[in-house]
């Protein structure tokens, strides 16, 4: 059960981040935060196929994390999410074609290690 929940956190969470990035890059830059512009943004996002899959996947990951935290310790739940920093950086390089230099690799690894330490 615990490992199933870990899978339900990591896999949908990773898919969600990649799809949301694709969807939002396709949508164009969001720079207006006034209420009317936000409503227009939402109405265009619900017709964006990447976001329509990405946001529910994010919700699955979120609720799986909540469920896991209610039956397991933080120190069991967090290592998987810490690992996802490096995994998603790799996916960003190969799927999203982001240019990732040594600073990004080192930064993502350090953040992952730091999150692991916080879970001890």
């Amino acid at each position: 059960m615990k490992w199933l929940l870990i899978a339900m956190i990591v896999i949908p969470g990773t898919i969600a981040d990649v799809l949301n990035t694709m969807g939002m890059k396709r949508n164009g830059e969001v720079s207006d935060f006034r209420p009317r512009a936000l409503l227009r943004l939402i109405s265009s996002l619900i017709r964006n196929p990447y976001i329509v899959i990405g946001v529910p996947a994010m919700a699955v990951s979120f609720f799986a994390l909540m469920a896991l935290l209610s039956i397991a310790n933080l120190s069991f739940a967090v290592p998987a999410t810490a690992f996802s920093y490096v995994l998603e950086t790799a996916l960003a390089k190969y799927i999203l074609k982001e240019r990732i230099g040594w600073r990004r690799w080192a930064g993502a690894s350090l953040v992952g290690c730091g999150v692991l330490l916080l879970a001890t």
Binding site: G28, R40, K97, G107, A108, C113, G114, L118
Partner: protein, 171 residues
């Protein structure tokens, strides 16, 4: 001159209202630094406070292992839960708008500052003791964030953008 004015406007607006930010879309001189920084702050704060009030609220409501929808509706009526859900909606919008302009591999490490903020909130507001290992973790995260923050925020190619005209900039 224009740059200075818009910079001042940015600060003023940020103080007067955290949610309704002005559209600085015409400011091409510093398009990434100013606005992206604001969104990151909004994202981190709404994430930390949202998670905090949601977990507090759900704790008070009790265990949510039930198939009756009434239990869930009851949970949402709890003020802490409602505030938490609202804040997480703010978080979602700011996460998506951040992803619309910078790389995923930039967003993820930089927004992990929220772990640091959560730990610090535990120390100073909830008076939980932060252990030496946790301080080490906070330091390591900050180091990683500092490294990533010094990279170009956006390196991804514009392949997706050509398919659809940008609908948010003009207003």
């Amino acid at each position: 001159m224009q740059l200075v004015e818009s910079g001042r406007g940015f600060l003023h607006q940020e103080i007067s209202s955290s949610l309704i930010l002005p559209a600085l879309s015409e400011d091409r001189s510093r398009p990434l630094r100013v606005k992206t920084g604001t969104v990151i702050v909004l994202l981190v704060v709404s994430n930390v406070l949202g998670n905090f009030s949601l977990s507090r609220g759900l704790h008070e409501v009790g265990r949510l292992v039930s198939f009756s929808p009434w239990r869930y509706i009851q949970a949402f009526l709890h003020p802490m839960v409602a505030i938490g859900v609202l804040l997480l909606m703010v978080w979602l919008i700011s996460q998506l708008s951040l992803l619309s302009r910078v790389d995923l591999s930039y967003v993820l490490p930089v927004t992990s500052v929220s772990y640091v903020l959560t730990a610090l909130m535990g120390e100073f507001l909830l008076h939980e003791r932060v252990s030496t290992l946790h301080w080490l973790g906070i330091g390591v995260i900050c180091l990683g964030v500092g490294l990533v923050a010094r990279t170009m925020p956006r390196t991804a190619p514009d392949t997706y953008r050509a398919t659809k005209p940008c609908c948010e900039v003009a207003q």
